[in-house]
């Protein structure tokens, strides 16, 4: 394969609060022999605005995204939710070649590795009990796995990547894919339900012996971590990129 040139999109909240997730993504992609470029004028995919009802106000944000990312072979991001937003909701822009390209070529990190690079053994060492929280937009939007409501063949791209890790024990949850309650601005508009959902998600992981909760989206984990810290619980959140980068490549 020719060396791929990919544009790395780091969601705004990862950029500001969880740089280590961006770094892990960047390093991992480099180790996989890819030319990774981080366009420095990028900001945000616009989802926080659009989900609040301000899709029109988000258009300049969308345009900035397209300007920054239209030249790459692929756009890769450590967020299923942002990737889904670009794919699904950039339909309100005029569908120029550039917009179409961006929508077609954006990938969440795990699906980029399994579907484009066609790798499922990243030679990871991760001797922990891990619960996989399947973030909704990645699961039901990008179809990174089969969701529990649909009567279809079962699969999960995230499990596929983690299963081969050395020493890992992936725990089974009582509710395999219930929402954590983050939901973007939902976490602010509906704080009580949001937190209640988060607590339920955390106790499912605790009950089943997880030491670590991982997910394709740091936003879910930021919400869960906020509750874990407030309640002094003994469980950690780690973004999937950080686990996947824990390797001997």
């Amino acid at each position: 394969m020719d060396i791929l040139r990919i544009g790395l999109f780091i969601p705004c909240y990862i950029d500001q609060f969880y740089p280590q997730v961006g770094i892990a993504t960047f390093e991992l992609l480099q180790k996989l022999g890819i030319e990774v470029v981080y366009p420095e004028k990028q900001t945000c995919c616009g989802q926080p605005l659009a989900n609040s009802g301000a899709e029109k106000e988000a258009i300049p944000v969308y345009q900035n995204f397209v300007r920054n990312f239209c030249e790459f072979d692929y756009i890769v991001t450590p967020s299923g939710s942002c990737a889904y937003h670009v794919k699904e909701h950039y339909n309100i822009l005029e569908q120029t070649e550039q917009v179409k390209r961006v929508r077609a070529n954006i990938y969440e990190l795990c699906e980029f590795i399994t579907d484009i690079l066609k790798i499922d053994d990243l030679k990871i060492d991760f001797p922990y009990k891990v619960g996989i929280h399947q973030s909704c937009h990645g699961l039901r939007g990008l179809k990174l796995g089969s969701s529990s409501e649909l009567i279809t063949t079962r699969y999960s791209k995230v499990h596929r990547l983690l299963e081969k890790a050395n020493g890992i024990e992936i725990i089974t949850l009582d509710r395999e894919d219930e929402c954590c309650g983050f939901g973007g601005t939902f976490s602010i508009f509906e704080p009580h339900v949001s937190v209640k959902m988060g607590k339920a998600r955390i106790s499912d992981h605790e009950r089943n012996g997880a030491e670590i909760i991982t997910a394709t989206d740091m936003s879910c984990l930021m919400h869960l971590e906020g509750i874990i810290k407030r309640q002094n619980k003994n469980i950690k959140v780690v973004h999937i990129a950080e686990i996947l980068n824990n390797n001997r490549l």
């Binding site: 740089p19 009802g53 899709e55 909704c136 279809t152 509906e190 704080p191 959902m197 906020g226 407030r230």
Partner: protein, 458 residues
């Protein structure tokens, strides 16, 4: 008016009760999964159901006139009501024309929607809801909290207390079998003395002019068989073209609603019995307006199975009454604003957009997408507070300019680091009510990249 978020907060104050509510409905969802898995071609069946409904909605005038013509040929009196007021008047007139004083009614969300019970009661009639759950909430003077399980918010002990008060059952009796038996005795008397029986309609078959009612208690039949006059109330969207289409819908409905292979009773009503009267009232009440909307028309496909409520993590943890609309949960949240956009501004936001509702919907309504679109519509129609509108405008401006974004991010991080905890966690920080904010890192990813990308690169 306090919205969903506020009422959900009250519901969640009793945490163990909220957990019980969540578990009870999750169990229904699990039963649904099991039942759905027993059908090999489940996903195809959903697709088929969706396309039949699509066909009906695209040719609604044709199917409505076919249905009406067949029904009239069968000896049925067909009435059309364009709104709730007309509907209530029509039903009232049928009842008074027949000098009836007592009406028994089996479950119908349409009559709830039109406010039929209070309308008739204000005019001196007695209306008895005969579905057990409906009777319970009627005794309590409460709206249903779920469209299939109207009293799901109540525990058996509370029903025991209620029946002790209303039906004179022994104090402290909470055995469901005994309580149900008391309700049967009570309702039997009502069935035998009613002058008119009203039912809802699950499906109306255009080619035969007949209506189909699905119940688990047989209460629709008890009413219809005993009373000399029967009235079936249906929205215009209840049509299916042919009897054979029922093979698709009856396979989906009960499985998706409660996990049963089929409801205990699937009753087909076609013509009045000798000497009796059969009326069908077809109601619009805003439906044809929704039909005209390209965005919202698919909500008319709904067959009222309630599965989107059982699967909804928000519904399970906030209860049906927190929605402030007679149909709660995800489907209610996309229906309510089309009736009253000002009153129900909060409902499209009462969702984390997790999409589970769309995945369980037996007729494939993309509920999550409609919630998203309602949010846009509400904002365009100026339903937000000026402050919220301004905040969103400013955020849009900042996020479209990378220098401004970098600067704002930095200011926020410095502020979070430098300010005393009690200022960061003041009351206006809604996030911080029950959650910590993330720890503030030394530098942003962008900063790290600009320092390190050169030397790290291949």
């Amino acid at each position: 008016m306090k919205g969903h978020s506020y009422k959900a907060g009250i519901f969640l104050k009793d945490e163990s009760r909220a957990d019980w509510h969540d578990k009870t409905l999750w169990m229904v969802r699990q039963k649904r999964d099991k039942a759905a898995r027993s059908v090999a071609d489940w996903e195809d069946l959903r697709e088929r159901a969706s396309s039949i409904k699509e066909q009906v909605l695209s040719n609604l005038d044709f199917y409505l006139s076919e249905f009406e013509q067949r029904a009239v040929e069968n000896g049925v009196k067909v009435h059309r009501a364009s709104n709730a007021q007309e509907f209530n008047e029509i039903v009232y007139k049928i009842i008074t024309d027949n000098n009836a004083k007592l009406v028994v009614k089996s479950k119908s969300m349409l009559t709830e929607e039109c406010g039929l019970n209070p309308y008739l009661e204000q005019r001196g009639l007695e209306v008895v809801d005969t579905d057990l759950g409906e009777r319970i909430i009627q005794f309590r003077k409460e709206p249903p909290s779920h469209i299939v399980l109207p009293a799901i918010h109540l525990k058996k002990e509370e029903i025991g207390e209620l029946f002790h008060e209303k039906l004179n059952t022994p104090k402290g009796m909470s055995d469901p079998v005994l309580l149900t038996s008391a309700a049967r005795t009570h309702l039997r008397e009502k069935f035998l003395s009613a002058g008119v029986a009203i039912t809802g309609v699950n499906f109306a078959v255009a080619e035969t002019g007949s209506v189909v009612v699905c119940t688990n208690e047989g209460n629709a039949d008890m009413g219809v068989h005993a009373a000399p006059v029967q009235i079936h109330c249906m929205g215009i969207e209840k049509l299916v073209p042919q009897t054979r289409d029922l093979a698709v819908f009856t396979r989906l409905l009960a499985r998706n609603a409660t996990g049963q292979p089929i409801t205990a009773y699937t009753s087909h009503y076609r013509k009045p019995r000798p000497g009796g009267q059969m009326h069908i009232v077809i109601v619009d009440n805003g439906r044809s307006d929704r039909l005209k909307s390209e965005v919202h028309r698919s909500s008319l496909k709904c067959i009222r199975c309630g599965a989107c409520m059982n699967t909804c993590p928000v519904y399970r943890r906030s209860g049906g009454h927190s929605y402030g609309y007679l149909i709660p949960g995800p489907i209610g949240s996309i229906l309510a604003p089309s009736y009253n956009i000002k009153k129900h501004t909060d409902l499209p936001f009462a969702s984390s957009l997790c999409m589970s509702c769309s995945n369980v919907c037996p007729v494939k309504i993309e509920i999550h997408d409609q919630l998203y679109k309602w949010r846009q519509e509400l904002s365009e129609k100026g339903a937000f507070s000026p402050v919220k509108g301004l905040v969103l405008k400013i955020a849009g401006f900042i996020l479209s300019k990378s220098a401004l974004y970098d600067f704002s991010g930095k200011v926020a991080r410095v502020a979070l680091k430098g300010l005393p905890r009690r200022m960061v966690y003041s009351k206006i920080n809604v996030w911080g009510w029950e959650r910590e904010l993330p720890a503030v890192p030394q530098e942003s990813f962008k900063k790290w990249y600009s320092k390190n990308s050169g030397k790290n690169n291949l």
